[in-house]
């Protein structure tokens, strides 16, 4: 069994300005969902709420495992992840960035080495593992963010505009990575894009957000 994810009547406002309005949806486990919608429609806020970075004002985000509702604690947070639009790369080497999520879980050094190397090879950054991460290009930085997230084997993998502001070559690489993740069907994938063609290429289910609500496309 894996994580089942559902949002129920979620409402979220910033400074009295409603962003999510009575937003409800049940995500099927192992599916890839692509969220589209105009700026300000609530896509990023939705992912942040699902990633437990934001608390809804009302309604709830519900994770279940084997029918049991899970508490929004560290144990659950470690089964999900969100790649932020500004990745938040640490000022250290590429390798240490990828190793971070494993290190804080107390995983052995040998296993960290093996898994981080695999993740770096998967995103095409194996040859840059000892380079300072802040010296990477925008596209490489996005790939590093994905490697850092995929190395922890999340059961719900969220990506907020993973291909925004990068060149076609890097976009193609990132799409390839997401397609491979999708084929494994180990994680439920939720990603945001403004590119309809990309949404068609990657998504099992296309969702459209408008005025803080999810509308199946």
């Amino acid at each position: 069994m894996g994580l089942e994810l559902k949002i129920l009547n979620v409402f979220k406002a910033y400074n009295g300005n409603p962003i999510l309005r009575d937003c409800s949806f049940a995500f099927a486990q192992g599916c890839t969902y692509v969220l589209q919608g105009p700026n300000g429609s609530g896509k990023s806020t939705l992912l942040r709420a699902l990633a437990l970075l934001e608390q809804p004002d009302s309604g709830r985000v519900e994770y279940r495992d084997g029918g049991q509702i899970l508490a929004a604690d560290l144990e659950l947070r470690r089964r999900i992840t969100l790649v932020l639009p500004r990745t938040g790369i640490f000022n250290t080497t590429v390798f240490k960035n990828v190793a971070y999520g494993l290190k804080i879980r107390g995983i052995t050094r040998a296993e960290i080495e093996a898994r981080a190397n695999d993740a770096l090879l998967a995103v095409g950054l194996g040859h840059k593992k000892w380079q300072r991460a802040l010296e990477l290009s925008s596209g490489e930085t996005k790939r590093l963010g994905i490697a850092r997230a995929m190395v922890i084997n999340p059961e719900v993998f969220m990506l907020d505009e993973p291909t925004a502001n990068i060149d076609p070559a890097n976009t193609a690489i990132i799409e390839g990575i997401i397609l491979k993740l999708k084929q494994k069907r180990q994680a439920t994938i939720l990603m945001i894009t403004h590119d309809p063609a990309q949404a068609q290429r990657l998504g099992d289910d296309l969702l459209f957000m408008q005025d803080g609500k999810i509308i199946p496309a």
Partner: protein, 236 residues
């Protein structure tokens, strides 16, 4: 001019012949200032981190007090500490006055606000996305905080170097609480003051050269960490 040149020549002789008195003074200076700085960092860094990352009561007032403390006149710090440590003072029973320990406390009082205040500023300047990234990767609250502090490490080191610069050059506080006792509490700055008063310039010049070299090294170190910090704050 002749006497100045002679003074420099004699000073260089003292340095190259590894004069025991000179080296005893240098080592004591480094021991006192190093210990004071270490203590100021042990106490100052957590205070700075808490002020930057937690909702602390009277946060603004504490930051203002620390900023004021950065400009605390050493003589005033020395005077207040003297009043506390003197035989009739509240801590007089400890017998610390005119000991290296009293000098360490005095220098720690001067370095603490610098380390705490600059650490606070450094940590507060870290891009919030770093903390969020740590959370999304499964960090506990302590691991999140450590990730943020780690990101500010070069700016924090620059703050520690600024604290070192302050205590190494300080004379007012340690001469009051240390007493400038030969072979016991006499350090570089107090020796320079005393020997200049006595007209014995060789030792004063030798120590002056070494103090300038240390100050130069601190400045180079400060610039190094500031440069690393600048390249490190941009979170992609």
């Amino acid at each position: 001019m002749q006497s100045i040149l002679e003074g420099f020549a004699a000073a260089f002789r003292l340095i190259v012949t590894l004069n025991p008195e000179l080296w005893r003074i240098i080592l004591l200076s480094l021991e006192v200032s190093g210990t004071a700085l270490m203590l100021a960092t042990i106490f100052g860094l957590p205070v700075g981190a808490c002020l930057a990352m937690r909702r602390v009561p009277l946060r603004g007032l504490v930051i203002s007090l620390l900023n004021t403390g950065m400009g605390l006149p050493p003589v005033a710090a020395g005077l207040f500490l003297y009043l506390f440590l003197s035989r009739s003072g509240p801590l007089g029973f400890m017998g610390l006055l005119y000991t290296p320990t009293a000098m360490i406390i005095a220098q720690c009082l001067l370095a603490f606000p610098i380390v705490a205040s600059l650490s606070q500023a450094a940590i507060a300047n870290v891009d919030p996305v770093i903390r969020q990234a740590a959370i999304t990767l499964g960090a506990t609250p302590i691991q999140e905080s450590l990730a943020v502090v780690k990101e500010a490490r070069y700016s924090i080191m620059a703050g520690v170097m600024a604290g070192l610069g302050r205590v190494m050059a300080e004379v007012g506080a340690i001469i009051i609480v240390g007493g400038n006792i030969a072979g016991y509490t006499r350090v570089m700055t107090t020796t320079i003051a005393l020997e200049t008063d006595k007209g014995n310039f060789e030792l004063a010049i030798a120590l002056g050269i070494i103090l300038l070299t240390i100050s130069f090294s601190i400045t180079v170190g400060l610039r190094f960490f500031q440069r690393l910090g600048r390249t490190g704050t941009s979170a992609n």
